[in-house]
Symmetry: C2
Subunit: 201 residues, 2 copies
């Protein structure tokens, strides 16, 4: 299993470099378990699949606390056949052989236990279970979970929109990524999270 994300942080202000530099320290607690590489378009984080969304949450909340309109965009992946296995990417428990309804219940319990951060966000994402004939079954199961997550906003074309505190929102995203699609299969997730938008509903 290889799991990680290409992430980008977009503060909509003249001092975007200062805000990114100020927020990047939020990744420090994750560095011992992550491989992190940056270029001019995105930062790669490779690490345990269940720590990817907590790391993105902490980075994004640190940037958003400045009050600036900020967006985090990420391409998250696990089990990509073109990538080598990596010992820092541990397997995902509670998926293999577990019925969809039990996975939905476990995902709801995980979101209910999430700690609020005090930062409101809007998020939208698409889940891609690849190489599977029945990929829409997993997507519809995931949508069932999302509708009961407490942070469901609405379905949009090509994606689902969430809204609420960054704590349960990122927990919901993490559960969608970890519990749907096959346990050892190739799953990708395309994510946008926004805070402090002047046009937020």
């Amino acid at each position: 299993m290889f799991s990680g994300a290409q992430i980008s942080l977009y503060p909509m202000c003249d001092d975007f470099v200062g805000i990114i530099r100020g927020a990047i320290g939020a990744l420090d607690p994750y560095r011992p378990r992550f491989r992190i590489e940056t270029d001019d378009v995105s930062t790669l984080i490779v690490g345990p699949p269940d720590e990817l969304f907590p790391a993105m949450r902490d980075l994004f909340v640190a940037a958003s606390r400045t009050g600036t309109h900020c967006v985090l965009s990420a391409t998250v992946s696990r089990g990509c056949p073109g990538e080598p296995d990596d010992p820092i990417c541990t397997p995902i428990p509670g998926v293999q052989g577990v019925a969809l309804d039990r996975r939905i219940a476990a995902a709801h319990a995980a979101v209910a236990a999430a700690t609020p951060t005090g930062q409101q966000v809007a998020a939208q994402f698409s889940l891609y279970p690849l190489g599977a004939d029945r990929h829409m079954d997993e997507i519809y199961g995931c949508i069932d979970f999302l509708k009961g997550s407490g942070v469901f906003d609405r379905s949009k074309n090509f994606c689902t929109k969430l809204r609420g505190d960054a704590g349960p929102v990122f927990a919901t995203l993490s559960e969608a990524f970890l519990r749907f699609g096959s346990a050892g299969g190739h799953v990708a997730l395309d994510l946008t999270v926004s805070a402090n938008s002047p046009t937020a509903a």
Copy 2:
């Protein structure tokens, strides 16, 4: 066939609203053939699959010409089973029953014919041919095309990076979206395009 994209434009400056408003007129020539809806996170464009990337190119180049560091992020989709057919989304010719090597040659010819815009960009994207057992064959075929496109920068984890003039870069993205994955199948593409980055190579 239903085709479209959720797109977002991120100008990294205090006057991000002004830059977005100034650039949005670049979509005017496409409006007669597109359905366009905006909320606080993204703008939906639904229309002919071969006009999606030209529309994104014109929007992005209009914003980037201000010299501001700008990013366009998009989730592009065709053939999603959860979406209704739409008469404004025409079928894609030259894919069904056409061998991979002939599709690669046709894609190269299309990119060679692209008009330069004068705007340099970096782009990275992931292609997701869904509901297909042999999805990696299409992905590897697409990577072969990209390596000969003239704007290939490098392979990264989870995505491929392009660099060059926005004309051939967006043409390359469009060909990747239109010619790989099955003609009537579900294909998604996750895109980030950046211009005027202070850290660009």
